[in-house]
């Protein structure tokens, strides 16, 4: 109902500029990604310390422990997805640009996943060995974990956009996102330990289905929440 956007460009080049900016910002803020990785490692390391280095005890809980550690660690980073951009007024600029807010949110999620979840996937085999996981069990675990962290990031996208500007955002975000992540956790853990050795199981397909639904919905929900988000010093 109000003005046109500055429509001299096309969406693709706008998206490219946004992604380049996200990568530059993510790289300069890589300390935060390292903290999340450290959090992931520490949660997993606590289990052998608490349960004792007994193979019979650790091996059955290896996969659930890695999954829960990945979920908790990724939760710690979600509040940052939109916070700076809303506070400094960048979201205002995106809203007036040719780039739809949903695509902007999706770009944020993709770069966030690459910078925070990928490093976790890289160290997961090491963590698996520490918990007596057989090397042959790694590929299904990594594949399921890759899909699962993507789904988690998309849930975090919704949570981050909805809690933007709310007091006590982090706690609220955890309470909001973790119950929604239950299906991801259930299918993910089942897909990580296939019974008959095949990697593509029905559980993995269900996990993929959850991911696709989130891929379609999360950016739109986030865009609706961001449509009228206030900058800190605005108004």
């Amino acid at each position: 109902m109000t003005g046109r956007k500055m429509n001299t460009g096309n969406i693709k080049s706008s998206l490219g500029a946004q992604i380049r900016r996200d990568i530059a910002l993510g790289w300069r803020g890589r300390g935060q990604a390292l903290v999340m990785l450290g959090f992931f490692l520490i949660i997993i390391t606590l289990f052998p310390l608490a349960a004792g280095p007994d193979e019979a005890q650790l091996r059955p809980i290896a996969i659930p422990v890695i999954w829960i550690a990945a979920m908790l660690a990724s939760l710690a980073g979600f509040t940052r997805i939109f916070a700076d951009d809303v506070a400094c007024g960048w979201v205002d600029q995106v809203a007036l640009s040719p780039l739809p807010l949903a695509l902007y949110a999706l770009a944020r999620a993709a770069v966030h996943w690459a910078l925070t979840a990928l490093p976790m996937l890289v160290v997961t085999p090491l963590m698996g060995l520490m918990l007596y996981l057989e090397p042959v069990g790694m590929p299904p675990l990594l594949l399921a974990l890759a899909l699962g962290t993507m789904a988690m990031t998309l849930l975090g996208l919704i949570g981050a956009a909805l809690t933007e500007g709310a007091r006590g955002g982090t706690g609220l975000l955890a309470v909001l996102v973790l119950p929604l992540a239950v299906p991801v956790l259930i299918f993910g853990v089942l897909a990580s330990a296939p019974a008959d050795g095949g990697i593509v199981t029905p559980h993995l397909m269900l996990l993929g289905a959850v991911l696709l639904v989130l891929l379609a919905l999360a950016p739109l929900v986030a865009a609706m929440a961001l449509a009228e988000a206030e900058a800190e010093t605005g108004a």
Binding site: D84, D92, A235
Partner: protein, 213 residues
């Protein structure tokens, strides 16, 4: 006390081709009505200075025109592209001023050639500190980087400026005045909330908002 939402939109015949039309707009902040019924028109080449005491709704009106919040009633129509510079400058503090400007231009599909960016920075004498991370810069310097976007604007755009001169030194203020004058000359529109005179010597309309009790 709240104006009825207007059902009839202004006909195409009695509004300027690419102007801004604010028709009977009611603004709220929180649960409080701060402006019950505002109407105003800006034609291409026109400038309106938005004045009024703190809390009278100047920033809220600019955000409503920019589409960042919905007016409670009334309609705002504008066919021209909008360039909004609010209190929040939209600069990423970890990146340099130049990088911020290039990213913004890329986002909007505007030219990002080195010369063009350099000229935009020069318009507000922001060149000397354009390569430092924004977090190292003063408020006035950040303001100048944000305002450098204006030099990249399409000709017919509507500029929405919220206290554009706040924190600027004399030289930067003169640069801003030159940008505004040039924009008006080529048929652009400007609406600026301000407490100080802006682009003196240019004819302009004034929209004085009154604080609601």
């Amino acid at each position: 006390m709240v104006a009825e939402p207007t059902q009839s939109r202004i006909g195409a015949s009695d509004r300027p081709a690419a102007g801004l039309v604010i028709d009977n707009v009611a603004l709220v902040r929180g649960m409080r009505v701060i402006q019950p019924a505002l109407s105003h028109v800006i034609a291409p080449g026109g400038m309106t200075l938005l004045t009024g005491p703190n809390g009278s709704g100047k920033s809220t009106l600019l955000r409503a025109i920019a589409g960042r919040l919905r007016p409670m009633a009334g309609t705002i129509t504008c066919a021209a592209p909008i360039l909004y510079i609010g209190h929040a400058d939209g600069l990423a503090t970890a990146l340099s001023g130049r990088r911020n400007l290039v990213d913004w231009a890329g986002l909007n599909g505007l030219p990002v050639d080195v010369d063009v960016i350099e000229a935009a920075l020069a318009a507000l004498a922001a060149g000397p500190f354009a390569d430092l991370p924004v977090r190292m810069l003063s408020r006035g310097q950040r303001r100048r980087l944000a305002l450098a976007r204006l030099a990249l604007s399409p000709a017919q755009a509507l500029w929405l400026l919220d206290e554009p001169a706040a924190g600027l030194d004399r030289a930067a203020e003169a640069g801003l005045d030159r940008l505004i004058a040039a924009h008006l000359d080529r048929g652009g529109m400007v609406m600026a909330a301000t407490h100080t005179p802006l682009a003196t010597g240019r004819t302009h309309a004034e929209l004085a908002l009154e604080a609601q009790p």
